[in-house]
């Protein structure tokens, strides 16, 4: 964790505020476009937010947060109770949505899903790539950075206020897509589903803030051998591996608890993992907030 001071809170759209967090002890850990951080709130909740500022600014991070009507206490707390000048712990940035080199990009953003796209777009333009941003939202007033993006990038930014104009037809965009272009999409689940239906999987990169709905066989109990601590932890059918490890005092960090953020990644040296996350764990790794074991035993580096 890095200690920061909340420098500014600005309203950037209806129900959306932007936070500027300045490093309390000098420069903050570097990041690349697409990265997100965990923000530890004073009410003990931790939430993930994409960095939407400038990666060249090493003194501060910027995030934007929509007040969720069904908030469990994260976005509501940020909107109603956070105070400038107070310190907040912020994780080192993680990136599950990195911008890969390409001559052309199509960016698709829905509502608050614009946040990781803002620095990606800037980096792509800087690199001299051909870019198009299709940005949708209920109305322009609810869409953070819409005016700013339009004035900076002109007609490379296409804004769709779905309340008035309906949704853009992704199949038309897919048909016209340059074969060398990459597509980056961040927004609500319905938008990601629409993109996954028409764009080639190898060229489409998505960032989710909610897990997909998945069906699994009933959860079975299993044992986890933690090689570094020498402990063996039993995971019951009713509890997550993350909770079992933490209750045993092993202190695994976590964020979303839904398999979308990547904070609880573990190195697995033996056993067969049942991956239940939306990130696609690399070989030998797992996200223990949702994933479980197919074998009766897992060996982890913990």
């Amino acid at each position: 964790m890095q200690q920061t001071v909340l420098d500014r809170v600005d309203q950037v759209a209806e129900d959306v505020v932007s936070l500027v967090l300045r490093g309390a002890d000098g420069p903050l850990a570097p990041w690349a476009p697409g990265a997100h951080v965990d923000l530890a709130l004073p009410n003990w909740l931790t939430r993930q937010y994409s960095l939407c500022g400038n990666p060249a600014d090493h003194d501060s991070y910027r995030v934007a947060v929509r007040h969720d009507r069904l908030s469990r206490g994260g976005s509501e707390y940020i909107h109603l109770f956070l105070r400038t000048g107070h310190t907040l712990d912020v994780s080192v940035p993680r990136n599950n949505f990195p911008l890969l080199p390409a001559p052309e990009y199509l960016f698709l953003a829905g509502g608050i899903g614009i946040t990781p796209i803002v620095p990606m777009l800037a980096a792509a333009v800087e690199a001299g790539a051909v870019v198009t941003l299709v940005y949708t939202g209920k109305s322009v007033a609810t869409m953070p950075f819409a005016d700013e993006l339009r004035s900076r990038y002109g007609d490379r930014v296409r804004i769709f206020a779905t309340g008035k104009q309906g949704r853009p037809d992704f199949s038309v965009l897919a048909a016209a897509l340059n074969p060398h272009a990459l597509v980056y999409c961040c927004g609500p689940a319905s938008m990601l589903d629409a993109a996954e239906a028409v764009f080639p999987a190898g060229r489409l990169h998505v960032e989710r803030f909610r897990p997909t709905v998945k069906e699994f066989a009933p959860a079975k109990p299993f044992e986890v051998d933690c090689v570094r601590s020498g402990q063996t932890v039993h995971v019951g059918p009713e509890e997550s591996m993350l909770d079992a490890l933490n209750h045993a005092g092993l202190r695994v960090p976590f964020g979303c608890r839904e398999g979308v953020c990547g904070s609880c990644e573990l190195l697995v040296t033996d056993g067969e993992v049942e991956h239940r996350d939306d990130l696609g764990a690399a070989p030998g790794r797992m996200y223990c907030c949702v994933s479980r074991a197919l074998s009766s035993r897992l060996v982890v580096d913990l």
Partner: protein
């Protein structure tokens, strides 16, 4: 206790006499009772991980129970309505049974380190409204039920009781060493011939499953 040490029945002070002994409250005190949740009460509730909840049955027989979770676990639905999640407990459902007979409810919110407490009194009923329960999801589990409170009065209660009790003074935690463990108490009170250590371990195992 044996019959030889039954205390003398303390004498009862008549209601009118109580007022005479205490005197009249300050006019200012009456003003602090609000009929709604103002921004200060709202901030207090958003930071409170604990409350005591009092209910009564139809005859007026009372019950008081602790509720706790992460700060802000009680949701402010609007300035006259709160929602308290129901988490797994002893399944006795005393509060729900009481509320079915008598909808009066008294709440006392506490924040570690804060000497003043927030008190909210009103009328309450159970709900399973999905949009309310969705806001109470923790450890990927939703609450089964919540208690909706229609606020009648909300006010801050001064800190004298908490100051005198040194409730938030870390040194006060030494008191915990002077009472028997929950396992020892349970073994004796339930009259079972089990090693208190076994009961203690059962209790600890149960505490692992908080949701």
């Amino acid at each position: 206790m044996t019959s030889s040490n039954v205390a003398i029945r303390p004498r009862r002070v008549a209601p009118g006499e109580v007022r005479a002994r205490l005197g009249e409250p300050d006019a200012m005190i009456k003003k602090k009772k609000l009929g709604h949740i103002d921004r200060h009460s709202r901030r207090f509730i958003a930071h409170a991980p604990f409350l005591a909840m009092a209910t009564c049955d139809a005859t007026g027989f009372p019950d008081c129970t602790p509720r706790g979770d992460y700060p802000g676990f009680v949701k402010v639905l609007d300035e006259r309505t709160l929602a308290i999640p129901d988490r797994p407990g002893n399944k006795l459902a005393d509060s729900f049974r009481n509320l079915a007979e008598n909808d009066g409810i008294g709440l006392m919110f506490m924040i570690p380190g804060v000497r003043e407490v927030l008190r909210v009194n009103g009328h309450a009923y159970p709900t399973d409204e999905p949009e309310v329960l969705a806001r109470m999801r923790t450890e990927a589990k939703e609450a089964e039920l919540a208690i909706v409170v229609d606020v009648v009065e909300a006010f801050f209660h001064c800190g004298r009781a908490l100051i005198r009790s040194r409730l938030w003074d870390p040194a006060s935690q030494a008191l915990a060493e002077e009472i028997p463990s929950a396992g020892e108490v349970a073994a004796e009170q339930m009259g079972v011939d089990v090693d208190p250590k076994v009961l203690e371990n059962m209790l600890e195992a149960g505490y692992r499953q908080l949701y």
